[in-house]
Amino acid sequence: MGEVKLIGSYTSLFCTRVEWALKLKGVQYEYVEDDVFNKSPLLLQHNPVHKKVPVLVHDGRPIAESLVILQYIDETWSGNTLLPQDSYDRAMAHFWAKFADEKCVMGSFMAAWKDGEEKEKAIESAQESFAFLEKLIEGKKYFSGEDEIGYLDLALGWIPLCLDIVEEVGGMKLVDAEKFPSLLEWARNFAEIPLIKERFPPRDALANYFHKIVGLKRSKK
């Protein structure tokens, strides 16, 4: 079905979610590692607007923005449907993925690199956002239902992938077992799936990456 190339960075959670999607669909692809601290001409050519990974290049045509890519993958390759069939359920999946990227991913990063009172506020705000996810997963095995993982699980997969490392680097606890039992249960179930687990980078690589990112952010203040 044409040549598929993924320009990514091994430690980027936005790239990992795209690789999970490609693997779930059984899509053969060429992976090109890009150094986010020293961006390649290939990346700048295919994503001149944002200059960021991931970029999926299918038959020479680039697609950027990880959630847009997930939807593209689902619409292009059949089998193991990622998004629900029903329009309303699809809208809910999109709503929560957007919410989680804006409030939980960014919220966690901000809490990690801030200090003092600002840090306390950022932690509180992030936890309020995670509380919505806790409520959403209560009583369900996966965000997409009982049997199979889907779009929303992939979009939130960064939680078992690297949240604890962000917490460590940031010297904080965001999602604890007492307040978020269902979310942590989901995270364990999700991380056990072989094709998901296989794509977890080594922990020290992730730790290095986040230390660098947080360090850079702090030095800009």
């Binding site: 299918h58 697609i63 847009v68 809208a91």
Partner: protein, 232 residues
């Protein structure tokens, strides 16, 4: 019941405010598709219990309620509308073109609106200069994308046009207030042409909010942000 009667039996409600460019997108989409709906006018300083019940997470407009199903976030609502009412599609069939439309809609919200709203309207001095420079860079990307096309969606208005549509009216008001030209005919001829085309398109042109009211609101927002507003 024929299809038209069936459609009229559905209940479609939009929670909106007179000024919101986000709610306007939803109204445009429904009207372009000929869908009957009721508008619930909200006052954001005094939000209704129903709005807070329907959108407890963001507490914002727009909210779409379709036969009891509640959807929030304008771009999510637009896709729901396009999938539910198939006439006058906002997205093309081809997945790559769809992805492209979604990319530009997101770019508009994440970057363009931020640089113009947050960076130019609400700032002054050096910070505004930086916001202006960022806005020009962002507008250049839009110029490259629209070149050779009537609309971002091609021959007809699509998702990206609706998402970026605020540029065709709200931006004029911002430019007047700050005394800066952003979509300059000389620098961005294709984008300027698109602005004209979109602003005057049927349905679009009939729903713009009042310019003077918007100007008053935006001046107040600017002054409040710059610490010049008198406390109420």
């Amino acid at each position: 019941m024929d299809e038209r009667e069936y459609n009229m039996a559905e209940e479609v409600k939009v929670f909106s405010t007179w000024a919101s460019p986000f709610a306007l997108r939803v109204i445009w989409a429904l009207k372009l598709k000929g869908v009957e709906f009721d508008t619930v006018h909200e006052d954001l300083i005094n939000k209704s219990p129903l709005l807070l019940q329907y959108n407890p997470i963001h507490k914002k407009v727009p909210v779409l309620v379709h036969d009891g199903k509640v959807i929030c976030e304008s771009l999510v609502i637009l896709e729901y509308i396009d999938e539910t009412w198939k006439q006058n599609p906002l997205l093309p069939e081809d997945p790559h073109q769809k992805a492209n439309a979604r990319f530009w809609a997101k770019f508009g919200d994440d970057k363009v609106m931020q640089s113009i709203g947050g960076g130019v309207l609400l700032k002054e001095g050096k910070e505004q200069e930086e916001g202006f420079a960022a806005s020009m860079e962002n507008l250049k990307y839009l110029e490259d994308e629209i070149r050779g096309k009537k609309f971002f969606g091609g021959e007809t208005i699509g998702l990206a046009d609706i998402a970026l549509g605020w540029l065709a009216h709200y931006l004029d008001i911002v430019e007047e207030i700050v005394g800066l030209k952003l979509i300059d005919q000389e620098k961005f001829p294709s984008l300027a042409a698109w602005k004209q085309e979109f602003a005057n398109a049927p349905i679009i042109r009939e729903n713009w909010p009042d310019r003077d009211k918007l100007a008053t609101k935006y001046v107040a927002m600017r002054e409040a942000n710059l610490g010049k507003g008198t406390p109420k």
